[in-house]
């Protein structure tokens, strides 16, 4: 099987795996325990905290470990809003966020908060003047993702941070789950107050992630009890998971630039070949390397159904995704693609091809060939008109 669904989840890197096994066997203490087994585990957690902090240009005490990206998003958004709601009742996000942000905003809207959902342009990017226009004196939170999980579009995080700097009441949260360890982002430079990340998108283990929270920012915790993570996130530390996240972070840095350039060139070759060989294909998102994540490709085949395509490719031993994994089963049209102005036809017929460290050029070319084998036949069955 050729696995090209790395934005849904990634295989654990062999070195991360070794790390997990070592920690499980030798460092099983509870970091909250005062004895040597506890101290040993605590040291590991603190080392990991430094590694993650460094990758984000943050201070170690600004990193809080969570059970994943979803928890980090919920914790940041709910925690900030609950803490600072006395300052105002207006919050801002975008039309293209992951459900773990989007649905929290929907919940808060039900709770009586005023929510602005920023629109996006045809490549999926919000416009800075829309941000400026939306800001009010009542705005307490703006949440914008760094890289979109469906189409890979990169949002202008530093520019948004600069705008928000003029509104001291408004905190800035960034969902960086799809970009962490792949596209550098400095929380200092971009003036970010909270940032979410997840290990399993970066060849780390499932069930662990982190929230960067700027020192001066206080949140109402989502889980309370033992007082771990400075009281911000209670619960016994997932020590192997945390160590695995750190290891994955370190490994991701190796040849990061070269790897990203490589993905970009494969992506370009892929798109060129597809456009050349297939009819009725639309490429979604921003294809430039600064504007779109090099490791995510999104295509629509109007007139077809994404699920049908995914299964047809599976028969050809190529695994890709229909929309994002988290919403695969439900809504029909992709909310993200619809927000970009695509027709229902295009928004229900998209597939996502996403690369990881184990991906090779040949995999991408094999995917092109598989598409060449399945698409024309399916188009004939579905009676998609020829050009």
């Amino acid at each position: 099987m050729i696995y090209l669904d790395n934005s849904a989840t990634t295989p654990v890197h062999p070195e991360v795996l070794t790390m997990l096994t070592d920690v499980i066997e030798q460092c099983y203490g509870n970091p909250s325990s005062l004895h040597h087994m506890g101290v040993k585990a605590e040291r590991l957690v603190e080392q990991a905290r430094k590694v993650v902090a460094e990758a984000l240009d943050a201070a170690p005490q600004e990193i809080l470990f969570t059970s994943g990206g979803t928890e980090a998003n919920n914790m940041a958004i709910r925690g900030i809003v609950e803490q600072y709601q006395g300052r105002g009742k207006h919050i801002i996000t975008t039309m293209v966020e992951h459900p773990s942000v989007f649905e929290v905003f929907a919940y808060l809207e039900e709770q009586g908060f005023r929510v602005t959902y920023l629109p996006v342009d045809e490549v999926g990017r919000i416009r800075l003047h829309d941000v400026e226009k939306a800001m009010t004196n009542e705005t307490i939170l703006v949440s914008v993702m760094h890289v979109n999980n469906e189409v890979g579009t990169v949002q202008p995080i530093e520019e948004i941070g600069a705008i928000l700097a003029q509104y001291p009441k408004a905190l800035f949260h960034v969902d960086a789950v799809q970009s962490y360890g792949k596209i550098p982002l400095s929380v200092r430079k971009a003036k970010i107050d909270a940032l979410s990340l997840s290990a399993h998108k970066l060849h780390g283990p499932k069930g662990v992630g982190a929230l960067y929270l700027r020192k001066q920012v206080v949140i109402k915790p989502l889980f309370i009890g033992g007082g771990q993570e400075n009281g911000m996130r209670s619960g016994t530390h997932n020590v192997p998971g945390i160590a695995g996240l750190a290891k994955a972070t370190i490994l991701a840095k190796i040849e990061q630039t070269r790897r990203m350039n490589q993905f970009q060139s494969w992506k370009e070759q892929f798109i060129e070949a597809i456009m050349d060989k297939l009819d009725h294909v639309v490429v979604n998102g921003d294809q430039t390397q600064v504007g779109g994540a090099p490791y995510i490709i999104n295509l629509s085949f109007p007139g077809m159904k994404s699920e049908v395509l995914v299964h047809a490719l599976e028969n050809e031993h190529v695994l890709v995704s229909s929309k994002s994994a988290c919403s695969s089963k439900n809504e029909k049209a992709s909310r993200v693609l619809s927000a970009m102005g695509l027709s229902d036809e295009a928004a229900t017929s998209s597939i996502r091809v996403s690369m990881g460290y184990q991906t090779e050029q040949q995999d991408i070319m094999d995917c092109v060939e598989a598409l060449e084998r399945v698409v024309p036949n399916l188009q004939q069955v579905m009676k998609v008109r020829k050009k």
Binding site: S33, F223, G226
Partner: protein
Amino acid sequence: MSIYLDHAATTPIDPRVKEAMDPYLEFAFGNPSSIHAYGRDVRAAIDVARETMAHSIHADPSEIVFTSGGTEADNMALRGVMVEARSSGKKHLITSQIEHHAILDTCEYLEKLGFEVTYVPVDDSGRVHLQDIQNAIRPDTALISIMVGNNEIGTLQPIREIGGLARERGILFHVDAVQALGLEEINVRDLPIDLMSISAHKIYGPKGIGALYVHKKVKMMPQMFGGYQERKRRAGTENVPGIIGFAKAVELRMQERERYREHLEKLRTELFRALKEKQIDFVQNGHADQSLLHIVNLSFPGIDSETLLMNLDIAGIAVSSGSACTSGTIRKSHVIQALHVGEERVDSAIRFSFGQSNTTEEISYVVDILTNTIQRLSKT
């Protein structure tokens, strides 16, 4: 020599559990929400794990919600139920003074939101009295939350009777079974339990995974949004290896429960025997026989527990004073304080918690070291 007697804080992973997890770390890595083969295979494995978990407590698989651990399960149960109850005008919750901080701190938070909480006392052995629960019940009581067995002193609570009271009055009953899982027989069809928190790392499973059993009839507000996982009750990509490991740990505990209980009984007996033989002055905190078998909490009059803990640690013996989950900061044990047996006992309490790899030889060695240390500390 290193002797680990802190299994109530956390346990090492059983190698058989690790072995069960390995395929899901190494190659079966799909996202269960993906519609392709890798996703489907993993989804099927999770379904089996959920069944194993459910069967072990006689629940339906749809009644198991996986979480990141016991703390999340406790928070989710209390917040989820109380927020939902508010719409029907109920705002009162009953718990005990010796619950884990995941419960007590959540209660405090709920109080700030306008809910009302009664913290029932316990007797000097740590037992909750039915009469106190009965007296605390009000027409607007939505939930009673009582732990099965205490994490510091091991005392078991009369769960069946408390649950019976709750059922009679139409009140939901939550139990924190984090320490009791695998040791006590828990059948949610037989016992009147509506919600139950459990955690894998206390039963030789992985850290970062737990679950909340939620009876079908219980409506609760989710605490995490953003996906269709766990029937919309708990969003987030599933911790697949964690879930597989948890189910394996539960399966092993069920198969080996009797043997494990006998093993722990032997270690307990040896501890008390050796202490008496050495004529060490001690009092047990907790209940002499209504107790979780892996926990023994003792106070050594005149000895400061932190000092004793450090000295034992230097000798390679890992025990605990108070509960572990206080993150370096040494809070006085609220549990032993609630027994009202005097400050001295609070300040001199040590928790020994046994596990499957401990031996009676280790226990006698520990008592030797303990004797020397106490003699040395008493002189100064």
